[in-house]
Symmetry: C2
Subunit: 192 residues, 2 copies
């Protein structure tokens, strides 16, 4: 067998994740069959499951990557920007776009509601997002740009509740046209 | 067969609905078997399904009754009060309480996400809630108690998004302690 470098392994792993993301986004978790995962990654099932134990491990790796990316956006631009990104994604005609978080986010939401085991395992990632949100809010509080009549923890939970409402709204396929204005209201309501 | 008055029919129908509500709240839609519906209503399946075609018809009648009641609360006290009621319900130790809306509301949310037929049929009821919300907001706008820098439609959609986030949050079994403060933020953010 040819030896491959760590970089090559990481690149192949990422290649599989990107293909799987398109596949999950287009067909949903249940609909992303092994055959479709092969098509969207251009690799055999043997190659795919050499990197990921099973479909569930693949989904979790994707969801973790998204959660980390979301935490990065939160750290730099805040949770409202995460919502604006979700909204932009939901409006795209091609849900298979690689940058699409929505498909994964919806599946995570669904599982959090229906699968207590998953809820426990996911706690670390949602804690990461909460921590990133609080950090940013605390920096804004120090800058004097955040409202200071309400504890930062309450502002953080308020923003997370709105995010969850947005995910749910989009999951129901409800119209997204008026939501930019809604997010403006949300953004204003946390400013000083 | 003895003749029964319209009042008696309506009372029996309501009796079945009350028992079914406790049953759905305690066991969820799937878990509310015909046997459990018999136990919680104290009536035979024959009697129950004389009034309602099947379990689905029973659930829909309950959900409709809740939507109408919700619209009443909205008309008198606003959508934030509906959220406060949901929160109070979620904190009750006994989920079988007759006044519990949460069980039904969660099942409606789940179906809206997963069942396009139900989504279509439910449109009339969600339109009723939206209309009640807008009416109240417009009255508040006329009173000068509502913020006037944003269209009423946007404020209404903002409140509905937060409601959906709250339902989703409670459905995931996440802690509800800090949410009173969050609802205060929401209430303030729509005031003038």
């Amino acid at each position: 067998m040819p030896r491959v470098s760590t970089d090559q392994l990481a690149a192949r792993r990422q290649h599989i994740l990107d293909g799987a993301r398109r596949c999950f986004a287009a067909y949903g978790y249940e609909g992303a069959t092994v055959r479709r995962l092969e098509q969207s990654t251009g690799l055999s099932r043997g190659a795919i499951f050499h990197y990921f134990r099973d479909k569930d491990a693949l989904f979790l790796a994707l969801a973790e990557q998204d959660a980390a990316r979301m935490a990065d956006v939160v750290a730099e631009q805040g949770l409202v920007q995460v919502m604006r990104d979700l909204l932009a994604t939901a409006r795209k005609p091609d849900p298979g776009d690689e940058s699409s978080w929505l498909g994964t986010r919806l599946e995570v939401s669904r599982r959090l509601r229906t699968d207590p085991d998953f809820r426990k395992r996911w706690q670390a990632h949602s804690a990461e997002l909460t921590a990133a949100t609080r950090d940013r809010l605390e920096r804004q509080a120090a800058n004097g740009t955040l409202r200071d009549d309400v504890p930062v923890a309450v502002v953080a939970q308020y923003l997370e509740l709105v995010l969850e409402g947005l995910v749910s709204h989009l999951a129901m396929g409800l119209p997204a046209d008026a939501l930019d204005g809604v997010l403006d209201v949300v953004e204003q309501s946390v400013r000083r």
